[in-house]
């Protein structure tokens, strides 16, 4: 089986033991390498490590990869290969210790909490029996990790939410929530890129566009990136939003060694 120590990212709290996976059929154009069925930083680390190795090896017929919390889907061209051949290549590539990506990026993301920008902040505070200020502090305290970009372009699903803030989703999803929504659902935190329906709790909003066609890069975040939320004065919203609309990142990127 795979080695354990080398799969553990530097800031992971739990050691990874014997990461095994199974391969699930997704028709003729994809297969999913499933490490587990839970939200678990160790599973996500294994997913990203295997993905890095597969992207470096580029097995014939591989079109693109989609890492998620706990699985890695490989989209393939059935004219150039077939799922069985790709599975064999993956099993070969998964032998031995998987390397942890060498460098990680940290993003400082401005967030205006509460009020019109975070309409659920007070309700979440009331539910947890703490002042709204404490919800903001607890939400802005951790260094989150982008475990998955999915659902819609640039939607960043984050691990690292303070368990004291965890709250099951709203029974009735809202038909529209704005671009840049910063929300929580269950034990997960999210940066939304574009307007969409959502059943999560809206704590705030960022002017950052994690998906912006015409800007370089079009997608700001990558799976594996770290994110810190920076509570921001509502008075700065308009200026930051204008700058972001003009193509500025508005988020600060910090490069560092793993």
């Amino acid at each position: 089986m795979l080695g354990s120590a080398s799969l553990t990212p530097s800031n992971a709290s739990m050691p990874l033991t014997e990461p095994s996976f199974r391969v699930l059929a997704c028709g003729d154009t994809a297969l999913t390498v499933e490490f587990g069925e839970a939200i678990d930083p160790a599973l996500n680390a294994a997913v990203l490590a295997l993905e890095a190795r597969i992207l470096a090896a580029r097995p014939a017929g591989l079109v693109e990869t989609v890492p998620t919390y706990r699985s890695l889907t490989l989209h393939i061209d059935p004219l150039e290969t077939d799922p069985a051949a790709v599975e064999e290549a993956v099993r070969e590539l998964a032998r031995g210790a998987l390397p942890v990506p060498a460098r990680r990026r940290l993003w400082h993301v401005p967030v205006v909490y509460g009020g019109e920008h975070g309409i659920d902040l007070d309700r979440v505070a009331e539910h947890h029996g703490m002042p709204a200020r404490e919800v903001v502090e607890r939400h802005a305290a951790p260094e989150y990790r982008v475990v998955m970009l999915g659902f819609l372009p640039g939607y960043a699903y984050l691990a690292g939410l303070d368990p004291r803030l965890a709250l099951s989703r709203r029974p009735n999803p809202r038909p529209v929530t704005p671009a840049g929504t910063i929300s929580i659902g269950g034990a997960q935190a999210l940066v939304a890129s574009i307007a969409a329906p959502s059943g999560w709790h809206l704590l705030g909003r960022t002017p950052v566009r994690s998906f912006a066609p015409g800007r370089e890069p079009v997608f700001l975040f990558e799976p594996g990136d770290a994110i810190r939320f920076m509570p921001t004065d509502p008075a700065r919203w308009d200026a930051l939003d204008r700058a972001a609309a003009a193509g500025e990142w508005v988020a600060e990127r910090v490069e560092r060694d793993a």
Binding site: C26, V63, Y69, L79, A196
Partner: protein
């Protein structure tokens, strides 16, 4: 190459531009878009001498009126058989034709099928976004300014300068009565065996909630197993059959969400996705299981059929001759019926 325009005088709400699609961004949450009926796009393009994935108009059920401006243009329509006329004179589908400068092309809704592609010789010269002209409406990306077409739009196209004869193809059968083939999984094991058996044995109908993102089906609800109807999100593929809490399956299509939190009981094989796409709301649909190996073989057959389109082009003949030819060839006559 000099420039002409196709001027949109009128069109339905879901008329957009599609090309071969935009692979490579699913890792960032952007699905690949592309045509709902890939073979039909390739056929329309073959008829006007284009490569299979050149951008074309995708029409969905509703008609349109277009005018050639600044030069004559060569067009062809394939897929659902929309009724076509140029300045009031009928012209067939699945053949190329020229629309003279200033003439108006009217497209009337088809009697069967849903999606058709109107290809332009030389393509449609809107800018690419992330390497493709395919419209992804939710992402406001591709197409014309990231949106569907509307009256007043001007599409830059090539002027048709050659005098080459028009070409025709026997319309592609939709095999509407045949079952849609699926590979079970990736989460078939989230359902009791009887629920999987029911899913395969029971006819469904396409509901009104069907668009480029997905086709919600009506019919017998599928019971989830003990693990319920939520999974920790994992990736979807075109053709994923996800079963949300309602128990009614949704087939995910070209503009789908890239990840989802509902278990996926099965995956429609790539060769049959166009047949799902062409089913209208209210029309029946049933499933049949195949192996992954069989699905791969069928994908390769479909690719061979597409690659052979250019070689199957023939002269434009009368409807009667085409009918006879279709009968002799054993192709679906339904697709030709007026």
């Amino acid at each position: 190459m000099s420039r002409a325009h196709l001027l949109v005088l009128e069109c339905g709400p879901a008329t957009g531009l599609q090309d071969g699609g935009r692979p490579g961004y699913q890792r960032q949450g952007l699905s690949g878009s592309g045509p709902m009926d890939r073979l039909a796009l390739a056929a329309a393009n073959a008829l006007v001498g284009n490569a299979p994935g050149v951008a074309a108009l995708e029409l969905a059920l509703t008609g349109a009126r277009l005018r050639a401006a600044g030069g004559s243009v060569r067009l062809a329509l394939a897929g659902a058989p929309f009724g076509l006329s140029i300045d009031g004179e009928a012209v067939g589908d699945h053949r190329s034709f020229q629309v003279p400068d200033g003439a108006t092309l009217v497209l009337r809704p088809p009697r069967q099928g849903l999606f058709a592609y109107l290809a332009v010789a030389g393509g449609i010269h809107v800018p690419e976004s992330l390497g493709s002209r395919a419209l992804h409406l939710r992402a406001a990306l591709g197409g014309l300014e990231g949106r569907n077409l509307r009256a007043g739009d001007r599409l830059p196209v090539a002027t048709c300068t050659d005098a080459a004869p028009d070409r025709a193809l026997v319309p592609l059968p939709l095999d509407a009565d045949e079952p849609v083939r699926v590979v079970l999984g990736p989460q078939a094991d989230h359902f009791p065996d009887e629920a999987v058996a029911d899913f395969l044995a029971t006819p469904y109908t396409v509901s009104n909630r069907a668009d480029r993102m997905g086709y919600q089906l009506d019919g017998q609800t599928i019971r989830h197993g003990g693990r319920g109807f939520n999974i920790v999100s994992d990736a979807t593929v075109p053709g994923s059959v996800q079963v949300p809490g309602s128990g009614l399956p949704i087939i995910l299509m070209a503009d789908r969400q890239t990840t989802g939190g509902y278990p996926k009981i099965a995956t429609v094989i790539s060769a049959d996705l166009r047949r799902v796409a062409q089913r209208r709301p209210g029309e029946p649909l049933r499933f049949a299981p195949v192996s992954v190996d069989r699905a791969v073989a069928l994908a390769r057959e479909a690719a061979a059929l597409q690659a052979g389109l250019a070689g199957r082009l023939g002269p434009v003949t009368s409807r009667e001759e085409r009918l006879m030819e279709a009968n002799l060839a054993g192709d679906a006559v339904d697709a030709l019926a007026p």
